[in-house]
Protein backbone atom coordinates (compact mmCIF):
# COMPACT_ATOMS: atom_id res chain seq x y z
CA UNK A 1 0.00 0.00 0.00
CA UNK A 2 1.37 3.40 -0.99
CA UNK A 3 -0.47 6.64 -0.22
CA UNK A 4 0.56 9.93 -1.79
CA UNK A 5 -0.57 12.58 0.68
CA UNK A 6 0.59 15.46 -1.49
CA UNK A 7 -1.08 15.53 -4.91
CA UNK A 8 -3.10 17.98 -6.95
CA UNK A 9 -5.69 18.01 -9.69
CA UNK A 10 -6.16 20.79 -12.19
CA UNK A 11 -4.06 23.34 -14.01
CA UNK A 12 -1.24 25.38 -12.54
CA UNK A 13 -1.53 29.08 -13.27
CA UNK A 14 2.16 29.88 -13.62
CA UNK A 15 3.27 27.44 -16.30
CA UNK A 16 1.94 24.65 -18.48
CA UNK A 17 2.06 21.36 -16.62
CA UNK A 18 1.13 18.15 -18.40
CA UNK A 19 -0.96 15.46 -16.74
CA UNK A 20 -3.15 17.49 -14.39
CA UNK A 21 -6.49 15.84 -15.17
CA UNK A 22 -7.87 13.16 -12.83
CA UNK A 23 -7.31 10.45 -15.44
CA UNK A 24 -3.72 11.57 -16.03
CA UNK A 25 -2.96 11.63 -12.31
CA UNK A 26 -4.44 8.15 -11.98
CA UNK A 27 -2.21 6.99 -14.84
CA UNK A 28 0.83 8.46 -13.11
CA UNK A 29 -0.20 6.69 -9.91
CA UNK A 30 -0.40 3.41 -11.81
CA UNK A 31 3.01 4.05 -13.35
CA UNK A 32 4.79 4.31 -10.00
CA UNK A 33 2.57 2.08 -7.89
CA UNK A 34 0.61 4.60 -5.84
CA UNK A 35 -2.62 3.15 -4.54
CA UNK A 36 -4.23 6.26 -3.14
CA UNK A 37 -3.68 9.99 -3.48
CA UNK A 38 -4.84 12.82 -1.26
CA UNK A 39 -5.72 15.50 -3.76
CA UNK A 40 -6.40 19.22 -3.72
CA UNK A 41 -7.86 21.37 -6.47
CA UNK A 42 -4.73 23.17 -7.64
CA UNK A 43 -6.14 26.21 -9.46
CA UNK A 44 -8.38 26.96 -6.50
CA UNK A 45 -5.34 27.71 -4.36
CA UNK A 46 -4.85 30.80 -6.51
CA UNK A 47 -8.45 31.94 -6.62
CA UNK A 48 -9.73 34.77 -4.47
CA UNK A 49 -12.10 32.24 -2.93
CA UNK A 50 -10.23 28.92 -2.90
CA UNK A 51 -13.31 27.14 -1.59
CA UNK A 52 -14.90 27.48 -5.01
CA UNK A 53 -12.68 24.63 -6.22
CA UNK A 54 -13.86 22.25 -3.53
CA UNK A 55 -17.15 21.32 -5.18
CA UNK A 56 -15.44 19.91 -8.24
CA UNK A 57 -12.85 18.22 -6.06
CA UNK A 58 -15.42 16.48 -3.89
CA UNK A 59 -17.40 15.40 -6.92
CA UNK A 60 -14.32 13.89 -8.59
CA UNK A 61 -13.29 12.15 -5.39
CA UNK A 62 -16.78 10.77 -4.89
CA UNK A 63 -16.45 8.95 -8.22
CA UNK A 64 -12.87 7.74 -7.79
CA UNK A 65 -12.14 5.75 -4.65
CA UNK A 66 -8.37 6.11 -5.11
CA UNK A 67 -8.68 9.84 -4.56
CA UNK A 68 -9.27 11.27 -1.12
CA UNK A 69 -10.13 14.95 -1.17
CA UNK A 70 -8.22 17.58 0.77
CA UNK A 71 -10.46 20.64 0.43
CA UNK A 72 -9.11 24.14 0.76
CA UNK A 73 -10.30 26.43 3.50
CA UNK A 74 -9.77 30.19 3.75
CA UNK A 75 -10.24 31.30 7.36
CA UNK A 76 -10.72 34.96 6.54
CA UNK A 77 -13.73 34.43 4.28
CA UNK A 78 -17.13 34.31 5.93
CA UNK A 79 -18.59 30.87 6.39
CA UNK A 80 -15.29 29.05 6.32
CA UNK A 81 -16.37 26.83 9.19
CA UNK A 82 -18.76 25.00 6.88
CA UNK A 83 -15.80 23.65 4.90
CA UNK A 84 -14.76 21.61 7.89
CA UNK A 85 -18.13 19.94 8.27
CA UNK A 86 -18.32 19.31 4.53
CA UNK A 87 -14.84 17.84 4.60
CA UNK A 88 -15.74 15.53 7.44
CA UNK A 89 -18.90 14.46 5.64
CA UNK A 90 -16.87 13.68 2.54
CA UNK A 91 -14.35 11.60 4.45
CA UNK A 92 -11.52 14.01 3.81
CA UNK A 93 -8.29 12.97 5.53
CA UNK A 94 -7.36 16.64 6.01
CA UNK A 95 -8.17 20.17 4.94
CA UNK A 96 -5.55 22.52 3.61
CA UNK A 97 -4.77 26.17 3.94
CA UNK A 98 -1.79 27.83 2.30
CA UNK A 99 -1.86 31.24 3.91
CA UNK A 100 0.87 32.90 1.90
CA UNK A 101 -0.87 31.97 -1.35
CA UNK A 102 -4.11 33.33 0.07
CA UNK A 103 -2.40 36.54 1.11
CA UNK A 104 -3.12 36.18 4.80
CA UNK A 105 -0.85 36.13 7.81
CA UNK A 106 0.57 32.60 8.24
CA UNK A 107 0.03 32.65 11.98
CA UNK A 108 -2.46 35.46 12.28
CA UNK A 109 -5.89 35.54 13.85
CA UNK A 110 -7.55 33.69 11.00
CA UNK A 111 -5.02 30.90 10.88
CA UNK A 112 -5.12 30.44 14.64
CA UNK A 113 -8.89 30.26 14.54
CA UNK A 114 -8.70 27.66 11.79
CA UNK A 115 -6.15 25.70 13.78
CA UNK A 116 -8.44 25.64 16.75
CA UNK A 117 -11.41 24.58 14.67
CA UNK A 118 -9.43 21.78 13.01
CA UNK A 119 -8.39 20.57 16.42
CA UNK A 120 -11.94 20.63 17.67
CA UNK A 121 -13.18 18.80 14.59
CA UNK A 122 -10.33 16.30 14.67
CA UNK A 123 -9.33 17.15 11.10
CA UNK A 124 -5.63 17.53 10.32
CA UNK A 125 -4.61 20.83 8.76
CA UNK A 126 -2.29 20.59 5.76
CA UNK A 127 0.05 23.39 4.69
CA UNK A 128 2.67 23.60 1.95
CA UNK A 129 5.96 25.38 2.48
CA UNK A 130 6.19 26.00 -1.26
CA UNK A 131 4.97 24.49 -4.50
CA UNK A 132 7.92 25.36 -6.74
CA UNK A 133 11.61 26.09 -6.35
CA UNK A 134 11.82 29.77 -5.53
CA UNK A 135 14.48 30.28 -8.18
CA UNK A 136 12.18 29.40 -11.02
CA UNK A 137 8.91 30.99 -10.06
CA UNK A 138 7.07 33.32 -12.39
CA UNK A 139 8.14 36.95 -11.93
CA UNK A 140 4.62 37.82 -10.80
CA UNK A 141 4.37 34.83 -8.44
CA UNK A 142 5.33 36.73 -5.33
CA UNK A 143 3.76 34.71 -2.53
CA UNK A 144 6.24 34.09 0.25
CA UNK A 145 7.17 30.62 1.37
CA UNK A 146 5.58 29.40 4.57
CA UNK A 147 7.82 30.41 7.48
CA UNK A 148 8.86 27.75 9.96
CA UNK A 149 7.90 30.11 12.78
CA UNK A 150 4.28 29.93 11.62
CA UNK A 151 4.24 26.15 12.00
CA UNK A 152 5.67 26.42 15.49
CA UNK A 153 3.06 29.01 16.39
CA UNK A 154 0.16 27.04 14.94
CA UNK A 155 1.03 23.75 16.61
CA UNK A 156 0.98 25.56 19.96
CA UNK A 157 -2.53 26.94 19.47
CA UNK A 158 -4.33 23.79 20.54
CA UNK A 159 -3.13 20.55 22.15
CA UNK A 160 -5.20 18.45 19.78
CA UNK A 161 -4.23 20.14 16.52
CA UNK A 162 -2.53 17.89 13.96
CA UNK A 163 -0.52 19.42 11.15
CA UNK A 164 0.66 17.89 7.88
CA UNK A 165 3.37 20.03 6.29
CA UNK A 166 4.40 19.37 2.71
CA UNK A 167 7.35 20.54 0.58
CA UNK A 168 9.59 21.18 3.60
CA UNK A 169 13.33 20.63 3.45
CA UNK A 170 15.64 19.40 6.16
CA UNK A 171 16.48 22.77 7.76
CA UNK A 172 12.80 23.67 7.97
CA UNK A 173 11.86 20.34 9.53
CA UNK A 174 14.70 20.45 12.03
CA UNK A 175 13.87 24.02 13.02
CA UNK A 176 10.27 23.14 13.76
CA UNK A 177 10.84 19.71 15.24
CA UNK A 178 13.57 20.72 17.65
CA UNK A 179 11.89 24.06 18.27
CA UNK A 180 8.83 22.27 19.61
CA UNK A 181 8.19 20.17 22.66
CA UNK A 182 8.09 16.42 22.07
CA UNK A 183 4.33 16.51 22.55
CA UNK A 184 3.98 19.26 19.96
CA UNK A 185 6.36 17.59 17.50
CA UNK A 186 4.34 14.39 17.77
CA UNK A 187 1.40 16.22 16.23
CA UNK A 188 3.27 17.21 13.06
CA UNK A 189 3.77 14.99 10.01
CA UNK A 190 6.10 15.86 7.14
CA UNK A 191 5.88 14.68 3.57
CA UNK A 192 9.17 13.63 1.98
CA UNK A 193 8.87 15.30 -1.42
CA UNK A 194 11.37 18.12 -0.82
CA UNK A 195 13.90 16.24 1.32
CA UNK A 196 17.22 15.36 -0.29
CA UNK A 197 18.57 11.85 -0.56
CA UNK A 198 22.19 10.81 -1.17
CA UNK A 199 24.91 11.91 -1.09
CA UNK A 200 23.72 14.58 1.37
CA UNK A 201 21.39 12.00 2.94
CA UNK A 202 19.02 14.48 4.51
CA UNK A 203 16.14 12.02 4.61
CA UNK A 204 18.26 9.29 6.14
CA UNK A 205 19.46 11.75 8.78
CA UNK A 206 15.94 12.93 9.58
CA UNK A 207 14.66 9.39 9.91
CA UNK A 208 17.38 8.81 12.48
CA UNK A 209 16.96 12.08 14.37
CA UNK A 210 13.25 12.87 14.05
CA UNK A 211 11.98 9.34 13.55
CA UNK A 212 10.17 7.47 10.80
CA UNK A 213 6.82 7.96 12.50
CA UNK A 214 6.78 11.60 11.52
CA UNK A 215 7.14 11.15 7.74
CA UNK A 216 4.63 10.57 4.98
CA UNK A 217 5.06 9.56 1.38
CA UNK A 218 4.22 12.57 -0.78
CA UNK A 219 5.15 13.62 -4.27
CA UNK A 220 3.73 17.03 -5.15
CA UNK A 221 2.51 15.54 -8.42
CA UNK A 222 1.77 16.58 -11.09
CA UNK A 223 3.96 19.63 -10.50
CA UNK A 224 6.74 17.13 -9.75
CA UNK A 225 7.20 13.66 -11.19
CA UNK A 226 6.09 11.09 -8.64
CA UNK A 227 9.02 8.78 -9.41
CA UNK A 228 11.08 10.97 -7.10
CA UNK A 229 9.39 9.83 -3.91
CA UNK A 230 9.81 6.17 -4.71
CA UNK A 231 13.42 6.60 -5.83
CA UNK A 232 14.44 8.28 -2.60
CA UNK A 233 12.90 5.50 -0.54
CA UNK A 234 14.58 2.89 -2.74
CA UNK A 235 17.92 4.48 -1.90
CA UNK A 236 17.43 3.97 1.83
CA UNK A 237 18.14 0.85 3.84
CA UNK A 238 14.75 0.92 5.52
CA UNK A 239 13.20 -1.87 7.50
CA UNK A 240 9.98 -3.14 6.01
CA UNK A 241 8.16 -1.77 9.02
CA UNK A 242 9.51 1.76 8.55
CA UNK A 243 8.93 1.74 4.83
CA UNK A 244 5.35 0.64 5.28
CA UNK A 245 4.86 3.32 7.90
CA UNK A 246 6.16 6.06 5.62
CA UNK A 247 4.29 4.83 2.56
CA UNK A 248 0.95 4.18 4.21
CA UNK A 249 0.81 3.50 7.91
CA UNK A 250 1.61 6.97 9.14
CA UNK A 251 -0.85 8.55 6.72
CA UNK A 252 -3.55 6.15 7.70
CA UNK A 253 -2.86 6.88 11.34
CA UNK A 254 -3.02 10.62 10.76
CA UNK A 255 -6.27 10.32 8.85
CA UNK A 256 -7.75 7.95 11.40
CA UNK A 257 -7.33 10.60 14.01
CA UNK A 258 -10.04 12.55 12.27
CA UNK A 259 -13.18 12.21 14.31
Amino acid sequence: MRIDVNAFLGAYPWRRVPGTSPSAVLAAMDRVGIDQAWVTHLPGLFWRDPVEGNGWLLEVASREPRFRPVPAVHPELAGWESVLSAARAAGAPAVRCDPTFFGISPAGTGMRALAGACAAAGVPLMLAVRLEDGRQRHPNDGARELPAAAVRTLVRTHPDLRLIVTHADRPFIEEVHFGSTPAEAARIWWDICWIWGPPEDHLQTLLATVGAARFLFGTGQPLRIPENGVAKLDLLDLSGEDRNAIEAGNAAAAAAKAR
Binding site: E200, N228, A231
Partner: protein, 266 residues
Protein backbone atom coordinates in the same frame (compact mmCIF):
# COMPACT_ATOMS: atom_id res chain seq x y z
CA UNK B 1 26.01 1.38 -18.73
CA UNK B 2 25.01 4.55 -16.93
CA UNK B 3 27.22 7.64 -16.94
CA UNK B 4 26.62 10.47 -14.48
CA UNK B 5 28.09 13.48 -16.30
CA UNK B 6 27.65 15.81 -13.34
CA UNK B 7 29.05 14.55 -10.06
CA UNK B 8 31.10 16.08 -7.26
CA UNK B 9 33.29 14.87 -4.46
CA UNK B 10 34.62 16.47 -1.29
CA UNK B 11 38.01 16.35 0.42
CA UNK B 12 39.71 17.00 3.73
CA UNK B 13 40.31 20.71 3.11
CA UNK B 14 36.65 21.65 2.76
CA UNK B 15 34.42 22.81 5.59
CA UNK B 16 32.67 19.46 5.67
CA UNK B 17 33.66 17.20 8.53
CA UNK B 18 31.56 14.49 6.91
CA UNK B 19 33.37 14.57 3.56
CA UNK B 20 34.29 10.89 3.68
CA UNK B 21 30.70 9.89 4.39
CA UNK B 22 29.37 12.03 1.56
CA UNK B 23 31.84 10.59 -0.93
CA UNK B 24 31.04 7.08 0.22
CA UNK B 25 27.33 7.80 0.05
CA UNK B 26 27.61 8.90 -3.57
CA UNK B 27 29.41 5.71 -4.52
CA UNK B 28 27.03 3.53 -2.51
CA UNK B 29 23.94 5.13 -4.05
CA UNK B 30 25.58 4.91 -7.45
CA UNK B 31 25.92 1.16 -7.02
CA UNK B 32 22.24 0.87 -6.21
CA UNK B 33 21.21 3.01 -9.17
CA UNK B 34 23.62 1.25 -11.50
CA UNK B 35 25.95 4.15 -12.26
CA UNK B 36 28.98 2.76 -14.01
CA UNK B 37 30.94 6.02 -14.20
CA UNK B 38 30.76 9.20 -12.11
CA UNK B 39 32.30 12.07 -14.09
CA UNK B 40 33.09 14.47 -11.30
CA UNK B 41 34.76 17.70 -10.30
CA UNK B 42 35.78 19.51 -7.15
CA UNK B 43 35.43 23.28 -6.98
CA UNK B 44 38.54 24.10 -4.99
CA UNK B 45 37.89 23.98 -1.26
CA UNK B 46 34.09 24.32 -1.61
CA UNK B 47 34.26 27.67 0.14
CA UNK B 48 36.60 26.78 2.97
CA UNK B 49 39.63 28.86 1.99
CA UNK B 50 38.29 30.57 -1.16
CA UNK B 51 34.72 30.94 -2.43
CA UNK B 52 33.19 27.91 -4.12
CA UNK B 53 32.53 29.81 -7.32
CA UNK B 54 35.68 31.94 -7.16
CA UNK B 55 38.24 29.32 -6.16
CA UNK B 56 41.86 30.31 -5.74
CA UNK B 57 44.55 28.65 -7.86
CA UNK B 58 45.90 26.87 -4.80
CA UNK B 59 42.49 25.47 -3.91
CA UNK B 60 41.83 24.45 -7.50
CA UNK B 61 45.12 22.61 -7.58
CA UNK B 62 44.32 20.70 -4.41
CA UNK B 63 40.83 19.84 -5.59
CA UNK B 64 42.05 18.70 -8.97
CA UNK B 65 44.77 16.62 -7.34
CA UNK B 66 42.08 15.00 -5.22
CA UNK B 67 40.06 14.18 -8.31
CA UNK B 68 43.11 12.65 -9.97
CA UNK B 69 43.65 10.54 -6.87
CA UNK B 70 40.02 9.43 -6.85
CA UNK B 71 40.27 8.53 -10.52
CA UNK B 72 43.35 6.45 -9.81
CA UNK B 73 41.70 4.86 -6.77
CA UNK B 74 38.52 3.98 -8.67
CA UNK B 75 39.62 3.50 -12.28
CA UNK B 76 36.51 1.48 -13.00
CA UNK B 77 33.97 4.10 -11.92
CA UNK B 78 35.34 7.64 -11.50
CA UNK B 79 36.46 10.08 -14.19
CA UNK B 80 37.32 13.72 -13.68
CA UNK B 81 36.83 17.22 -14.99
CA UNK B 82 39.60 19.71 -14.41
CA UNK B 83 38.10 22.73 -12.62
CA UNK B 84 39.59 26.14 -13.42
CA UNK B 85 38.99 29.80 -12.69
CA UNK B 86 39.25 31.83 -15.94
CA UNK B 87 40.31 34.93 -14.01
CA UNK B 88 43.66 33.25 -13.50
CA UNK B 89 44.23 32.73 -17.18
CA UNK B 90 47.74 31.32 -17.13
CA UNK B 91 46.99 29.03 -14.22
CA UNK B 92 43.82 27.82 -15.92
CA UNK B 93 45.61 26.80 -19.10
CA UNK B 94 48.46 25.18 -17.21
CA UNK B 95 46.02 23.30 -15.00
CA UNK B 96 44.07 22.08 -18.02
CA UNK B 97 47.25 20.82 -19.65
CA UNK B 98 48.42 19.17 -16.43
CA UNK B 99 45.17 17.45 -15.60
CA UNK B 100 44.09 16.38 -19.08
CA UNK B 101 47.60 15.08 -19.52
CA UNK B 102 47.16 13.07 -16.34
CA UNK B 103 43.98 11.46 -17.57
CA UNK B 104 41.10 13.81 -16.85
CA UNK B 105 38.48 13.83 -19.58
CA UNK B 106 36.74 17.24 -19.49
CA UNK B 107 36.85 20.82 -18.25
CA UNK B 108 34.60 22.26 -15.56
CA UNK B 109 33.73 25.94 -15.57
CA UNK B 110 31.53 27.14 -12.75
CA UNK B 111 30.68 30.76 -12.09
CA UNK B 112 33.93 32.69 -11.78
CA UNK B 113 33.47 34.66 -14.98
CA UNK B 114 30.49 35.20 -17.27
CA UNK B 115 30.31 32.53 -19.96
CA UNK B 116 30.48 34.95 -22.87
CA UNK B 117 33.55 36.76 -21.53
CA UNK B 118 36.61 36.70 -23.82
CA UNK B 119 38.66 35.26 -20.95
CA UNK B 120 36.99 31.94 -21.65
CA UNK B 121 38.15 31.82 -25.25
CA UNK B 122 41.67 30.50 -24.62
CA UNK B 123 40.18 27.79 -22.40
CA UNK B 124 37.81 26.77 -25.15
CA UNK B 125 40.61 26.69 -27.70
CA UNK B 126 42.44 24.31 -25.36
CA UNK B 127 39.29 22.21 -25.08
CA UNK B 128 39.01 22.07 -28.86
CA UNK B 129 42.61 20.99 -29.22
CA UNK B 130 42.20 18.26 -26.64
CA UNK B 131 38.78 17.14 -27.79
CA UNK B 132 37.49 17.64 -24.26
CA UNK B 133 33.96 18.83 -23.49
CA UNK B 134 33.26 21.77 -21.20
CA UNK B 135 30.70 21.40 -18.40
CA UNK B 136 29.48 24.91 -17.61
CA UNK B 137 27.53 25.76 -14.47
CA UNK B 138 24.31 27.52 -15.48
CA UNK B 139 21.70 29.49 -13.57
CA UNK B 140 18.60 28.89 -15.66
CA UNK B 141 17.49 32.43 -16.51
CA UNK B 142 19.63 34.61 -14.32
CA UNK B 143 17.56 37.71 -13.71
CA UNK B 144 20.17 39.44 -11.58
CA UNK B 145 23.55 38.87 -10.00
CA UNK B 146 23.49 36.60 -7.00
CA UNK B 147 26.01 36.85 -4.17
CA UNK B 148 28.93 34.49 -4.31
CA UNK B 149 28.94 33.75 -7.99
CA UNK B 150 29.19 35.34 -11.41
CA UNK B 151 26.63 32.97 -12.81
CA UNK B 152 25.75 32.61 -16.47
CA UNK B 153 22.58 31.57 -18.14
CA UNK B 154 21.90 29.71 -21.36
CA UNK B 155 21.94 32.82 -23.52
CA UNK B 156 25.43 33.65 -22.32
CA UNK B 157 26.62 30.08 -22.73
CA UNK B 158 25.10 30.12 -26.19
CA UNK B 159 27.28 33.06 -27.21
CA UNK B 160 30.36 31.15 -26.11
CA UNK B 161 29.21 28.00 -27.89
CA UNK B 162 28.62 29.94 -31.09
CA UNK B 163 32.19 31.24 -30.97
CA UNK B 164 33.56 27.72 -30.49
CA UNK B 165 31.48 25.39 -32.65
CA UNK B 166 34.00 22.55 -32.44
CA UNK B 167 33.74 22.36 -28.65
CA UNK B 168 30.92 20.44 -26.97
CA UNK B 169 29.40 22.31 -24.04
CA UNK B 170 27.29 20.73 -21.34
CA UNK B 171 24.62 23.13 -20.09
CA UNK B 172 24.72 22.17 -16.45
CA UNK B 173 21.83 20.94 -14.35
CA UNK B 174 18.69 21.91 -16.22
CA UNK B 175 16.89 20.97 -13.00
CA UNK B 176 19.33 22.82 -10.81
CA UNK B 177 17.43 25.99 -10.21
CA UNK B 178 16.02 28.81 -12.25
CA UNK B 179 13.67 28.90 -15.17
CA UNK B 180 14.55 26.00 -17.43
CA UNK B 181 11.90 27.13 -19.87
CA UNK B 182 14.15 30.10 -20.58
CA UNK B 183 17.21 27.96 -21.24
CA UNK B 184 15.87 25.46 -23.73
CA UNK B 185 14.96 27.79 -26.61
CA UNK B 186 18.23 29.66 -26.06
CA UNK B 187 20.29 26.63 -27.10
CA UNK B 188 17.87 24.87 -29.42
CA UNK B 189 19.79 25.91 -32.54
CA UNK B 190 23.25 25.26 -31.10
CA UNK B 191 24.09 21.62 -31.83
CA UNK B 192 27.28 21.75 -29.77
CA UNK B 193 25.32 22.41 -26.56
CA UNK B 194 24.11 19.32 -24.72
CA UNK B 195 21.58 19.41 -21.87
CA UNK B 196 22.70 17.88 -18.59
CA UNK B 197 19.54 16.65 -16.86
CA UNK B 198 20.89 16.83 -13.34
CA UNK B 199 19.67 18.97 -10.47
CA UNK B 200 17.20 18.65 -7.64
CA UNK B 201 14.30 19.83 -9.80
CA UNK B 202 11.89 17.13 -10.93
CA UNK B 203 9.25 19.35 -12.45
CA UNK B 204 6.43 17.73 -14.33
CA UNK B 205 6.89 18.62 -18.00
CA UNK B 206 10.58 19.42 -17.78
CA UNK B 207 11.84 16.27 -19.48
CA UNK B 208 9.20 16.53 -22.18
CA UNK B 209 10.29 20.12 -22.82
CA UNK B 210 13.93 19.05 -23.07
CA UNK B 211 13.06 16.39 -25.60
CA UNK B 212 10.97 18.82 -27.61
CA UNK B 213 13.69 21.46 -27.59
CA UNK B 214 16.85 19.54 -28.45
CA UNK B 215 15.90 15.91 -29.06
CA UNK B 216 17.08 12.80 -27.29
CA UNK B 217 20.52 12.92 -28.95
CA UNK B 218 21.45 16.02 -26.96
CA UNK B 219 20.41 14.85 -23.51
CA UNK B 220 22.91 13.62 -20.93
CA UNK B 221 22.01 11.91 -17.69
CA UNK B 222 23.40 13.29 -14.44
CA UNK B 223 22.54 13.78 -10.80
CA UNK B 224 24.72 16.55 -9.28
CA UNK B 225 23.84 16.91 -5.57
CA UNK B 226 20.73 14.73 -5.47
CA UNK B 227 21.04 11.21 -6.74
CA UNK B 228 17.42 10.40 -6.05
CA UNK B 229 16.19 13.06 -8.46
CA UNK B 230 18.52 11.72 -11.11
CA UNK B 231 17.16 8.24 -10.62
CA UNK B 232 13.60 9.54 -10.71
CA UNK B 233 14.20 11.29 -14.02
CA UNK B 234 15.78 8.16 -15.44
CA UNK B 235 12.74 6.13 -14.40
CA UNK B 236 10.43 8.63 -16.02
CA UNK B 237 12.48 8.68 -19.21
CA UNK B 238 12.04 4.92 -19.40
CA UNK B 239 8.34 5.68 -19.65
CA UNK B 240 8.76 8.41 -22.28
CA UNK B 241 11.38 6.82 -24.54
CA UNK B 242 12.10 3.60 -26.36
CA UNK B 243 14.79 1.35 -24.85
CA UNK B 244 17.20 2.42 -27.58
CA UNK B 245 16.59 6.08 -26.82
CA UNK B 246 17.03 5.50 -23.11
CA UNK B 247 20.45 4.04 -23.87
CA UNK B 248 21.38 7.29 -25.58
CA UNK B 249 20.60 9.27 -22.47
CA UNK B 250 22.09 6.72 -20.10
CA UNK B 251 25.53 6.63 -21.73
CA UNK B 252 25.78 6.59 -25.49
CA UNK B 253 25.46 10.36 -25.91
CA UNK B 254 28.10 10.88 -23.22
CA UNK B 255 30.44 8.35 -24.73
CA UNK B 256 30.23 10.30 -27.98
CA UNK B 257 31.42 13.61 -26.58
CA UNK B 258 34.24 12.63 -24.25
CA UNK B 259 37.66 11.63 -25.58
CA UNK B 260 37.96 8.14 -26.98
CA UNK B 261 38.68 5.59 -24.31
CA UNK B 262 37.32 7.82 -21.55
CA UNK B 263 35.08 5.11 -20.14
CA UNK B 264 36.03 1.58 -19.21
CA UNK B 265 34.30 -0.66 -21.78
CA UNK B 266 34.01 2.17 -24.32
Amino acid sequence: MLIDVHAHFLHDRTSRADWRERNASRLRAGERIGITTHVASILGSWGHTSPTYFPSPADLGYGNDTMLALQREHPDRIRAYVAVNPNYADHALAEIDRCLGAGMIGIKLAASRRADDPLLDPICRRAAAAGAPVLHHIWQHRRRDYPGQEASDAVELGRLAARHPSVVFLLAHIGGGGDWLHSLPAVRELPNVMIDLSGSGVDGGMLEACLDAVGVERLLWGADLTLETGWAKLRYLEHLLSPEEVELVRWRNAAGIFPAGAFPPD
